[in-house]
């Protein structure tokens, strides 16, 4: 076992991991940040998405021990406490949240997009969502919410 220090949502966290412990496991089980979800452990569904140094990443594919030099942002760290970002509010308002299991990953994918491209068109939004599966919504309202935030 290895002792590591992770920077998560702006604070330093001491954790104890094995070489193959994923960041997702550490977030959920040691840091009790359960907003990142385990949907497949295969890197396909995107429900585990986080930001690593501001870039969208799959926490189920990051080895925790390899993340000491990265700033990790989870869904819990996306907005100020007890507040929602404009995008989060837009998702709620657009009816884009159904079962909600994919939603944290979707929020991170779209926040990562809007950070780099504040006025994406529909193709750019859908491309940004290319690694996030949603089985409930058919993506329509999610895309609407992102476009609303981008273009008003």
């Amino acid at each position: 076992m290895i002792d590591i220090t992770l920077k998560v949502n702006g604070s330093e966290q001491a954790c104890r991991v094995d070489g193959m412990t994923t960041l997702l496991t550490v977030l959920r089980e040691q840091l009790l940040l359960t907003g990142s979800k385990r949907g497949c452990d295969y890197g396909i569904c995107g429900a585990c998405s986080v930001l690593a140094d501001g870039r969208l990443a799959r926490s189920c594919l990051l080895l925790a021990a390899d993340c000491e030099d990265r700033a990790i942002t989870t869904i819990e760290g996306v907005a100020e406490p007890d507040r929602l970002t404009d995008l989060q509010q837009a998702l709620v308002d657009a009816g884009a949240v159904q079962c909600g299991f994919c939603t944290p990953g979707i929020v991170l994918a779209l926040e990562a997009l809007l950070d780099v491209d504040p006025k994406p068109d529909e193709t750019a939004v859908r491309t940004a969502l290319g690694g996030n599966l949603c089985r409930c919504s058919g993506y329509g309202a999610i895309v609407d919410a992102a476009l609303k935030v981008a273009h008003g």
């Binding site: 995107g46 969208l56 594919l61």
Partner: protein
């Protein structure tokens, strides 16, 4: 219990990787799913994350572009250092999987895995890229066409790492066309073309000055037939010539019957996709 090291130097990393139960970690997009599923059970994981010499994309004197093994697909997709025919590289990168995979996955990791249905093998063969390998014993360069040997089999020996990929100067422009079941899937059939033509818009054709043509996912390794390429140079490249080139490649193809389609189906569509990609090279 799996150990973890993140060495500061390439020499250190190579020393650790001499043990065949050790695995190198680059972007993790292939290794970690295998760890999660219990498909591989290494005793040691060696992260390459601190090795600066494996990072970066640089344009060399003479116009070649050297890509560090740890360069991500996203970095390649957005790099402005690729010129003319080398644009096949960013055009390929942007079609790999999805944004999160592109942000983390590396060209070195992709090469080392050697999946012929992935995007880099076919493109690197079309480019005539050189794959640079390093081990404790030294360095060597292997042409991409020799590096990718069979399904998940490459030239890599135990204790060797891919350290860089070099793209030679290439004329014309690059086109990568990937036919897949859904967005982000690995290719059912892929076509990588580099083409320099004197375009004659009136006849929707062009006299070919330079061409590279490789097809992927239709056999254990990408298929590139220099005889076909040679036969196209100096000729008017129109729809018929393009399809004939595709048919020649299809004759050499040995695709699998799998979830993406039967072997017969893939052989059937291959010439059409080659034709379409070549025509796109003439007339974007």
């Amino acid at each position: 219990m799996v150990g973890f090291h993140k060495p500061a130097t390439l020499a250190e990393a190579l020393a650790l990787l001499a043990d065949e139960d050790a695995r190198p970690l680059s972007g993790g997009q292939t290794l970690v799913p295998m760890l999660n599923q219990g498909v591989v059970q290494p005793s040691l994981i060696v992260s390459l994350g601190r090795l600066r010499e494996l990072r970066g994309i640089t344009r060399l004197a003479g116009g070649a572009v050297r890509i560090g093994a740890m360069a991500t697909h996203a970095e390649i997709a957005t790099s402005t250092l690729f010129e003319a025919g080398q644009t096949l590289m960013p055009r390929t990168a942007v079609q790999i999987a999805d944004p999160a995979v592109r942000a983390a996955g590396t060209i070195g990791g992709s090469c080392a895995f050697g999946d012929p249905t992935a995007d880099w093998p076919v493109t690197l063969c079309a480019c005539g890229a050189l794959i640079e390998l390093a081990s404790a014993a030294g360095r060597r360069e292997v042409p991409a066409t020799d590096f990718f040997q069979h399904y998940l089999q490459t030239e890599l020996q135990t204790g060797e790492l891919v350290t860089a990929v070099t793209i030679p100067p290439l004329a014309g422009r690059g086109v990568y066309r990937k036919f897949a079941r859904v967005y982000g899937d690995n290719a059912t059939v892929s076509v990588a073309v580099i083409l320099d033509v004197d375009v004659d818009v009136a006849v929707e054709a062009g006299r070919c000055r330079f061409v590279r043509l490789a097809v992927g996912s239709v056999g254990p390794r990408p298929i590139r037939l220099t005889a076909v390429e040679d036969s196209l140079v100096g000729r008017m490249l129109d729809a018929a010539a393009a399809e004939a080139a595709g048919a020649a490649l299809a004759a050499d193809a040995d695709p699998l019957d799998d979830l993406r389609g039967s072997a017969a189906y893939k052989r059937r569509i291959l010439p059409r996709l080659v034709q379409r990609t070549l025509l796109e090279g003439i007339n974007p």
